[in-house]
Symmetry: C2
Subunit: 441 residues, 2 copies
């Protein structure tokens, strides 16, 4: 493990950022959601920093308060990254695609086409979908969990089999003799599950990495761990503390072991939202300037989390020693202890909230060292193999991370000096695979 290095990914959402209100920041073009050109720039910035991959979540339905918030989703993961692939050369693409509502033949075809077009940089984040709004867009009912996971297993097996149905050496391509393909090496797969089926073959040759890398993501339910342990080379999750993350990573590695694999072949990637600024104070001010109303509105939540009544008019007043003495972290919410620790540092409630203590994954705010320290601590504690970063605002947040944090990680020997290779597999450090479960053989 001496040469173990941090893997970095970056989430791509709707072109603004991951801090509420990012679309309203004066230096952000509010039309970015419909401009692939913006995501191309952000992808290029991440590539400059040696990021192994971009990650696109996907929620194909409208949700939340779209009047005051954004769509929080890329227009279409496959279509936008097909475009981005042509403007980048090393960064990979881990795209969420539903096993519940997509046809395996389409998934196999579109992801492998992306893999070929990007010269071996595609990954499929295979997830089940249980949301009724998404189901309704496909005119389908929500299936129960057992059925969703049964279909997920079938779908991944069919997709991987289709990927392998053009055997690695099937393409003869001999202009002299006139033999294009060896037909004995392009054969049907004839798989029929309970929920999905495909005959094949899929007429797509291997990419530079063979076929797309399988990821999955979510909370560590037994169903998901079994799926990940069997098929995935990467696991994307949101987790708040080192302890929790270590437990989840251990469970994941154990699931891979139980599936007969080397646990080092599956990478556990945790979320981190970053605000890079010259000082912590500057970073908090940036967050307050952009997301001030959302931050203020969370005051009652903070009060409840740490068990201290804070009046709105006192939001800018650090808690008194009496208040701090009476405060207590809830054992039910790991964010609660973090909030209390930040409050004890003497920050006002507004600043505590601006630290992102109620966000959906850890938030680091301040100069490069703050972010590097966080990542180093998690990485060395074996709580993560890497991080998927959610910059506060894409327009300047990616460049700031690349300029201020990446050099420190490199100085500390935690992060590769450049791309290890040109394929996603190489940059993740995961083994080759072609067809269904090559590693089971």
């Amino acid at each position: 493990m001496a040469d173990r290095k941090i893997i970095l990914g970056m989430v791509l959402t709707d072109g603004y950022g991951n801090l509420p209100g990012a679309w309203r920041a004066p230096h952000v073009d509010p039309g970015n959601y419909a401009k692939v050109e913006a995501n191309i720039r952000y992808a290029q910035a991440a590539e400059r920093g040696g990021f192994a991959f971009l990650f696109t979540p996907d929620f194909p339905a409208v949700r939340g308060d779209v009047e005051h918030s954004t769509i929080s989703n890329i227009m279409d993961p496959l279509m936008e990254t097909a475009a981005i692939s042509q403007a980048t050369s090393n960064i990979g693409f881990v795209l969420t695609g539903s096993t519940t509502f997509q046809e395996p033949f389409n998934t196999a075809r579109q992801f492998k086409t992306l893999d070929i077009m990007s010269h071996g940089r595609a990954g499929w984040n295979a997830v089940t979908t249980s949301d009724p709004a998404v189901a309704a867009n496909y005119g389908k009912p929500v299936a129960d969990r057992a059925e969703r996971y049964q279909r997920a297993h079938e779908s991944i097996q069919i997709v991987q089999s289709l990927w392998g149905s053009w055997q690695k050496d099937a393409w003869i391509n001999d202009q002299e003799s006139g033999r294009f393909i060896d037909p004995s090496k392009l054969q049907p797969i004839n798989l029929r599950g309970e929920h999905v089926a495909s005959r094949g073959p899929l007429a797509l040759p291997p990419s530079e990495q063979g076929q797309p890398v399988i990821f999955t993501s979510g909370g560590p339910s037994p169903h998901l761990l079994a799926l990940a342990g069997r098929y995935a080379s990467g696991f994307i999750t949101e987790v708040w503390t080192i302890e929790e993350a270590r437990a989840q990573r251990d469970a994941l590695r154990n699931a891979a072991h139980e599936a007969g694999r080397d646990p080092d072949e599956i990478k556990f990637i945790v979320g981190l939202m970053t605000t890079v600024a010259p000082t912590v104070r500057d970073g908090l001010d940036r967050r307050i300037a952009i997301a001030g109303d959302v931050i203020e509105a969370r005051l009652p939540h903070l009060s409840a989390m740490i068990g201290v009544q804070i009046q709105p008019q006192h939001i800018d007043k650090p808690l008194s020693s009496e208040q701090l003495a009476g405060a207590h972290a809830s054992p039910m919410d790991p964010r609660s202890a973090i909030a209390l620790r930040v409050a004890r540092e003497g920050w006002s409630p507004r600043d505590v909230l601006a630290h992102g203590v109620i966000d959906y994954h850890p938030v680091t705010v301040g100069p490069g060292k703050v972010h590097a320290d966080h990542m180093q601590e998690w990485f060395e504690a074996e709580a993560a193999d890497g991080f998927w970063l959610a910059p506060d605002v894409y327009e300047d947040g990616v460049d700031a991370f690349v300029d201020e944090v990446v050099p420190i990680l490199r100085e500390r020997g935690l992060y590769p000096d450049g791309y290890v290779g040109s394929t996603l597999r190489e940059n993740l450090g995961v083994p080759d695979q072609y067809g269904l479960g090559a590693w089971l053989s």
Copy 2:
């Protein structure tokens, strides 16, 4: 109709060409099937010639003799054109997508994303699919024609409704007030047909042309004409003679009229394979050099078509006056009269075949004037509104057409001097549309 101009499109297939054996030509890279870079170059060449669109047929299954022929299909129409859209600025994309095996929500989302990313250059060639090999790839049985067309109507209506579900002026995008979308203008469509359904809305704003242009394609069955008359702005077909083409175009225009539309709003686009060369003789030699074995193998077919026994050893000997006197064109096959006419010009049977008389649509061979004459004749006879060209070999065939044919068409006033606009609708001359059947209102 004084300003009526020819519309040109070009079919994109597997990166080689439309003449059998194109992949074996010495100046062609036999790896092009997996290289989007090749299709990007061909698209840029077509754009240099002012082509209104690229057309991608789609047959998502393996067919034919792949040992000696190619896959005859682009890797994936949507993914490759997403990439091509970023390397071009005016040419449109008419992509085949099945109403039988694709989910309307996915079709709506991916085509509209392409439309937005290309700044208004996408079109959907909506077709039904009856092939058992394709059905098997989706694990489905082949539906009967009535069901396929019922599903096609439902699918197109759902897709168009989803396109309109983000109303044209829904996007407020006011950074000052913090209002992103007017939620009253982003509303569910709640459509449920017999075969497909979707709730929506689809969170994608209008493109520069509103939404993708609907095409359809195939032989003029009553089912297809009814579908085209109601929804399509373009119709792509293969037809051998001016008489047949006029009849089909009239039937199509009548179908539009019956659906309450102006028949000029639907463009009838016929196929044409081109071999551009300094002389006809050079063109035939090029075709023989590339497709010699296929040409030779068609000799018995030619014999049968014109009712003359031709021995293989006489393939290079023009037919005698006795043979020609006894020859007759079959009234059942319009290509037969063309073959006989070419034979009477004194060409040998090999050269008659090299004229492409047994191909799936008309073939023109020779200097620029030959191609321009053919197109002018068809266009002025109102047998076509435009042509989708199938160059013999992409590598040099597109540039040759652009350099040798396009200038003649322009000199004759038959073809626009440059792009009329930047959207597909503008370059086709078809009206705006947003949502479902805006022209019915």
